[in-house]
């Protein structure tokens, strides 16, 4: 039983993690680097507009963006501390795989629990579990704590982490009750669990202190949430398939 769970989690998590890393470098990394240029002060919002207005060099801004890789390293080495882009990106791949292995392990523990309760898991139910995992671990927390572009100023980290976990547990529990509860009185309870974190509200700071243009932050958040959905669906589908194949074997 344990071995079946562990191999399933490792395989599904690694596959989903590598897929996530691929999408990360296609869509997200360049937005992070751009955000860091604003965070370090190398770029300033409205710089292009003011430069254009004063001395007519409207292209300075876009020229700066052309060699963001090398300059970001100088301007922002305190934040990631990696010796090179290769090391930095290698660690990103490694940790993306690790985080999705941890999600896969949670998902597969859930499969085992569902199976003990007499439910069958396959690729299709796995897909629904993946959707639920995405809602619990990414979308619901993002409703209160949107994905943070580097340089975003947010409330106290400890308080945000507590709210993040509360939201994950309440959303996951609420969805499980909706899907598997089966008794009418459980539905309002599920609704209350889903609503609770948002009624309490995520910790926030007063005012808006971001240095990057809102377009950059919006692009970042949209891509992070879109990729999260895709990867969680892949994770659930692979996990569900593996689980049902190993049962048959």
């Amino acid at each position: 039983m344990f071995q079946r769970m562990l191999t399933g989690a490792l395989f599904a998590g690694a596959a989903a993690g590598l897929f996530a890393a691929l999408l990360h470098f296609a869509f997200v990394q360049q937005v992070i680097l751009l955000g860091e240029q604003y965070e370090s002060g190398e770029l300033a919002h409205f710089e292009a507009a003011s430069t254009a207005a004063t001395d007519g060099h409207a292209h300075d801004h876009s020229d700066d963006q052309g060699h963001d890789g090398a300059e970001t390293e100088h301007g922002h080495s305190h934040d990631h501390g990696a010796a090179s882009d290769l090391q930095r990106n290698g660690l990103t791949v490694l940790f993306t795989v690790l985080i999705y292995v941890s999600y896969a392990a949670i998902l597969i523990a859930g499969f085992a629990l569902a199976e003990m309760a007499g439910r069958r898991i396959n690729g299709v139910t796995g897909l629904l579990w993946g959707l639920a995992g995405y809602l619990a671990f990414q979308l619901a927390p993002a409703m209160g704590l949107p994905p943070e572009l580097p340089g975003t100023v947010a409330a106290d980290l400890g308080e945000r982490q507590v709210w993040w976990w509360l939201t994950v547990v309440a959303t996951g529990g609420g969805l499980a009750l909706l899907a598997y509860g089966g008794k009418v009185w459980m539905y309002p309870l599920a609704g209350a669990a889903l609503a609770l974190p948002h009624v309490i509200g995520a910790p926030q700071v007063e005012g808006y202190l971001g240095v990057a243009p809102p377009e950059v932050g919006a692009t970042f958040a949209a891509r992070v949430l879109g990729i999260g959905l895709l990867v969680w669906l892949v994770l659930g589908w692979i996990g569900g398939h593996l689980w049902s194949r190993r049962r048959a074997a």
Partner: protein, 55 residues
């Protein structure tokens, strides 16, 4: 006999399940939440890109 066997099987299953959850949470904490400078730097881009509270 049958009941003993099934309950023994259920206990092993439950223990495996709990072990799995503990491993998952430990891994999730280390990769996503722990604030040691080395871990934070190594996991930095992933944490931002998966929506974890970072910094």
């Amino acid at each position: 006999m049958y009941t003993t066997l099934t309950s023994a099987k259920a206990t092993t299953g439950l223990a495996s399940l709990l072990a799995m959850v503990v491993i998952a949470l430990a891994l999730n904490f280390v990769a996503g939440h722990a604030q040691s400078a080395t871990l934070h730097n190594a996991a930095h881009d992933m944490r931002h890109a998966t929506g974890f509270p970072c910094h």
